[in-house]
């Protein structure tokens, strides 16, 4: 269960979302749309607390984060929340010093305590899933944008998150690379992975959305 209750986020003297409520249905793909400045990415980043909210409650599974928690309590709950969410960034943000395989295997090993061999086995499976198995030993700087974003998706899926958050995953890509990435996202949707996607591309929204949240 992923839900937002009464969410507000202050920017200077105005407030975004003004008490927004939303439940993200499990197994479905929700697209957040709206004009620039409406807060699409901000709302997405509230779901894994890369941004903090000033009012309301964010809930993923049994982790609830009300606004205004003390820093140490917030840090504890945010960590728990992030272990249940995966995120794909517009700019990929692969770790440049690690191979493709190590990028994907790192979080399962370090955060979830898997043995290195088990973490690598899972990483290889996920690279297979996104069609990047052959690139396992390569380094991020030698990948095309589409390849890098597919590796980033595999990396975000490695901890087996309840929900995958995608922030403009194709807007840095040319059409051919976009298509590669969109196919992978479609595959995840068909497998019943819960997805929340931010895009300003109406064509992409139509193609992927089960539900649409229009902001602004």
């Amino acid at each position: 269960m992923i839900s937002l209750r009464g969410i507000g986020k202050r920017f200077g003297d105005h407030t975004l979302f003004a008490g927004l409520d939303h439940d993200f249905a499990p197994g479905r793909t929700t697209v957040l749309t709206g004009p620039s400045g409406a807060g699409k990415s901000t709302l997405l980043r509230l779901l894994n607390q890369l941004e903090r909210h000033d009012a309301g409650v964010v809930q993923v599974g049994e982790v609830t984060i009300p606004a205004g928690l003390a820093p140490s309590e917030w840090a504890r709950r945010a960590a728990a929340l992030r272990r249940r969410t995966g995120m794909v960034f517009q700019g990929f943000q692969l770790f440049p010093h690690l191979s493709v395989l190590a990028n994907v295997a790192l979080a399962p090993r370090v955060v979830h305590g898997l043995a290195p061999a088990a973490a690598e086995a899972r990483a290889r499976q996920l690279l297979e899933l996104v069609g990047m198995a052959a690139a396992a030993p390569r380094f991020p700087a030698r990948l095309s944008g589409g390849e890098a974003q597919r590796v980033a998706i595999a990396r975000a899926l490695a901890p087996e998150p309840e929900v995958l958050l995608l922030d403009e995953p194709t807007s840095a890509l040319d059409p051919a690379n976009t298509e590669e990435v969109v196919r992978v996202i479609e595959g995840l949707r068909q497998r019943g992975q819960t997805l929340v996607l931010v895009t300003h591309d109406p064509e992409l929204a139509r193609r992927l959305a089960d539900d649409v949240v229009a902001l602004g």
């Binding site: 960590a79 960034f89 440049p96 370090v110 030698r142 990396r155």
Partner: protein, 497 residues
């Protein structure tokens, strides 16, 4: 006016000025033409020779040699100006022409007599052994075998200690610091010329002079090899001062007169330092290279340990400054500014001699050297690491956070490995700089490569050849380092497109 009155004296001196006169009109020497003679000496720790009285700094430089120089100038009808120079480099300063003669408790050691020309002695002195209270029962140097004994570098006492078997000789650039280290317990004792020991006694009331003063040594003035005429002029002037009692009056004022000074006019004393020593034993290159090699190893050891400390502490300071709570952050800023903003020389002296005055904080010279260099370079490393960490894009922090990494995990697995590549070049630079800066530990008695070079070159006059060899050794050690850093950089660059 005064100078006019003295002209006859000058003419007399010139006329008695030795054999050159017989060869027709002698060329007028520059110092006579200018009526100025510059004498080289070191006022640091210079009592009773030449020093500034801490109780009366307004009186300027005082000392029996200041008065002697004044009297010599009076007899020679010139103005004597003092030139400040480090004691250990007086020969070089003289040879370079920065002064005309050396007057500074300068002993005609064989090495020096090979390099410069000495006048007749102007003072006869003995050596005094001074020890810490716990060694007060000791009566002679031989009983201090196995102990550390401090001494002024390049001095007669230094020579004497080197010929005493079993004593660990610690070389200082000033008698005061040598005494300081006896007082704070680092050394058992110090050997010094009697005039120095007498002058330092009130400053170090807890130390004990043991045994009778011993030996018979001379202070004499030194001129350049080719300045025979000046040597003779100074000899004549000394003879005048001895004859008219001026010399005795000066020495009595400084409580330096004793029965042995009566021998200053004896023929054997006058002749003792006059002739130049012909080239001494051939230079022992094997010994010199072994000593330089030992110095190089010490330089390397100190540098490696100090830089290891600089890396560890620098990283800690950088992390505290970036991610620590506010009070600690301010402390880290203060650390960097303090250590970067004050001379490493001052830090080193504070660490060794300053802490040395505090019971229980007496570091060994090597420890203080490693600590001083390490603490200082940590400030620079902290800034390098901080800059590198700040260069890593925000997106990398967010990617790690989004995957559930704690701050420490993100640092360990994501941020530091990326920062490492960025710091490799500037850090290697810093290591090479530290490696060369490590010679500063010589001020706290560590004999490393540069100090060893100085001592060998001072003793032999071979500044050029030994200097080139020493530079070569430094290069041999720093080049592989640069090569190693480039290799690391290439290895880390495998992930670059």
């Amino acid at each position: 006016m005064l100078r006019c009155l003295r002209l006859p004296a000058f003419v007399v001196v010139a006329a008695c000025g030795g054999t050159a006169v017989a060869q027709g009109p002698p060329p007028v020497e520059p110092w006579r033409a200018a009526a100025v003679l510059r004498w080289g000496s070191d006022a640091e720790g210079g009592a009773p020779f030449v020093f500034v009285d801490p109780a009366h700094p307004e009186r300027g430089e005082i000392g029996f040699e200041v008065e002697l120089a004044h009297e010599l100038g009076r007899v020679l009808a010139v103005r004597c100006e003092r030139v400040q120079a480090p004691y250990e480099h007086l020969v070089q300063v003289l040879e370079r022409g920065d002064c005309d003669f050396v007057l500074n408790g300068f002993e005609p050691t064989p090495a020096r007599r090979n390099q410069v020309r000495f006048t007749r002695p102007y003072y006869i002195f003995q050596q005094q052994l001074t020890v810490a209270p716990r060694f007060a029962a000791v009566r002679s140097l031989a009983e201090l075998a196995g102990q550390r004994v401090g001494v002024l570098g390049q001095s007669q006492s230094h020579q004497m200690l080197l010929s005493q078997p079993g004593i660990e000789v610690v070389v200082y650039e000033s008698n005061v610091t040598a005494y300081e280290d006896v007082q704070n317990g680092r050394n058992a004792g110090s050997l010094a010329d009697v005039p120095i020991a007498r002058a330092l006694r009130p400053l170090f009331p807890t130390l004990v002079d043991v045994g009778e003063p011993f030996g018979g040594f001379y202070y004499a003035m030194a001129v350049r090899r080719g300045d025979g005429a000046l040597q003779q002029a100074l000899d004549q002037a000394l003879a005048t001062l001895l004859a008219d009692g001026s010399l005795e009056r000066i020495y009595r004022r400084w409580q330096l007169w004793g029965p042995q000074q009566a021998r200053l006019g004896d023929a054997d004393v006058i002749a003792a330092t006059a002739e130049a020593v012909a080239s001494a034993t051939p230079f022992a290159w094997g010994v010199a290279l072994t000593l330089l090699g030992q110095g190089a190893l010490r330089t390397l050891g100190i540098s490696v340990l100090a830089f290891a400390l600089a890396i560890g502490l620098g990283l800690a300071v950088a992390l505290v400054r970036l991610y620590g709570p506010r009070p600690l952050r301010l402390l880290a800023v203060a650390y960097v500014e303090l250590l970067r903003g004050t001379p490493i020389l001052v830090q080193m002296l504070l660490l060794y001699y300053g802490l040395g005055q505090v019971e229980g904080l007496q570091l060994s010279a090597a420890t203080a050297g490693v600590l001083g260099l390490g603490l200082n370079y940590a400030a620079y490393e902290a800034e390098v690491y901080r800059a590198a960490l700040l260069t890593i894009p925000r997106g990398q922090h967010e990617a790690a956070a989004a995957l559930g990494f704690s701050g420490a995990q993100a640092l360990r697995h994501v941020l530091l490995p990326q920062a490492l590549r960025l710091v490799l070049a500037p850090s290697t630079n810093d290591f090479i700089a530290l490696f060369k800066d490590s010679s500063i530990v010589m001020v706290i008695t560590v004999v490393e490569l540069t100090k060893q070079y100085q001592m060998l070159a001072n003793a032999s006059g071979r500044f050029i050849t030994l200097g080139l060899v020493t530079a070569g050794i430094y290069l041999l050690m720093s080049l592989p380092l640069a090569w190693f850093a480039r290799r690391c950089e290439r290895a880390l660059d495998k992930d670059r497109a």
